[in-house]
Symmetry: C2
Subunit: 252 residues, 2 copies
Amino acid sequence: MLQPSVLLPLAAKLATHVPLSNADRDAILSLPHKIVGIDAGRHLFREGDRATNCNVVLSGFACTHKILPDGSRQILAVHMKGDGIDLQNALMVLMEHNAQALTAVEVAVIPAQAISELMNSRPSVARALWIETLIHASIQREWTVNVGRRDARTRVAHLLCELGIRQEAAGLANRDRYVLPLTQEQLGDATALTAVHVNRVLQGLTGDGLITREKRSLNMQDWHRVADAGQFTPDYLHPAQNDIPSPPASQA
Amino acid sequence: MLQPSVLLPLAAKLATHVPLSNADRDAILSLPHKIVGIDAGRHLFREGDRATNCNVVLSGFACTHKILPDGSRQILAVHMKGDGIDLQNALMVLMEHNAQALTAVEVAVIPAQAISELMNSRPSVARALWIETLIHASIQREWTVNVGRRDARTRVAHLLCELGIRQEAAGLANRDRYVLPLTQEQLGDATALTAVHVNRVLQGLTGDGLITREKRSLNMQDWHRVADAGQFTPDYLHPAQNDIPSPPASQA
DNA sequence: GGCTGTCCTTCACATAGTTGAAGGCGGGCC
DNA sequence: GGCCCGCCTTCAACTATGTGAAGGACAGCC
């Protein structure tokens, strides 16, 4: 129905959280939006900006981060195809973090107002959006653990596994073979390490035969060994509860 | 209206997020619930448990945490009066973290199902609940930064400030004078430090005249100096957007 | 085809925070 | 009234990771 919409990946993803009626899907697909391309390194928004839009990634990779008084920064999340970068904007007023393109990125920019209204009129969609943010919150908790309690090697391996699984889920690559969207410095910002030490760790993993690298592409010899090295278990990503997006529907 | 309910603090808090009609408030207050008391140190739930209830703190302090293979642990959040520990249970199936009483604690245990239904029937309440979880997500991001990028002294000072502000907001104490609900070991688990080092840091802060301690009670000589030492700014706590809980109401 | 800029790599050294262990203090319980 | 237990404090190594700095590889651009 409707014209083929760039929002299809979003609708598909939401439908994996909660069964959606055709009307629900159509309502998502026909959300007003602009498609915007952003060069690697440019910012999507900054701390203190007013939250009037929501960004959904269509292609490429983005991250959110905070910067500290001494100039160091912490990357808080990596966003890829189908992810809402800031769905919370539908409800919150002020951004307290920054969003930056890691690679060239295409996003659909949706007025927060439109999402807010959609939530009011369609409980099933509201529920799906909420689950989406709950999953991001779960990932955030795991990152706190990663950065707080694991040593450098484990931390990096864990992140590599997460990026693999999520890219696979988004249909972008295999979990054990993908193109790393982050430089070593950015890996450091995500794992709270220095670029120098990330380099040491990557060489360690390479030397032990866990991964190989050429250019930016990453290759795991044996997924399970890397997952072990990273204490990685995917539960916190909450893989689709009902992966068959179909059944009956909401009371919409 | 209704009998005076222990859920009043919850309703009041939600009303600071979104204007609620009387019907909305009554619906919250009449949620089915059991009051349960838990001794310090006991667990409310554990990783892998099925999420069938939601817990709201009535008094005392609780925390959520994850435990790693080597036995170390990371405290992910501290919960106090009025906080939902796991509102997300209304939508998620499996817990991937543990919850433990830090002090003796009283919680209202509400069937997840009942909250889920409330969300479906009352968009304003759903919105308020969502905002509540968004605020917790925002706090979680700040914790990631804290643990990832700040040095020990800053980290601890930051946590002390957060506990102060939140206790003040919950009407439990003044931000600069309160009873610490965590032992030094638990402070370490929250800040990703060892108890030994937490001790050093606290002595440092005491020696510099930023805080004084007797028993568990904490006293800040000058709030601003501690906030500075902790790079603390309260925006991420998203203080009530409309602190006057009144106006018109939802379309309920 | 050389220049510029970004990213990766390597080095020697510095240090913040950990480890393991021991002792002290206070409070609750028999 | 004495004992036990949880919590805090102190110490002297130890080590994982950071720092600053320099060189090299590659890619895009004029």
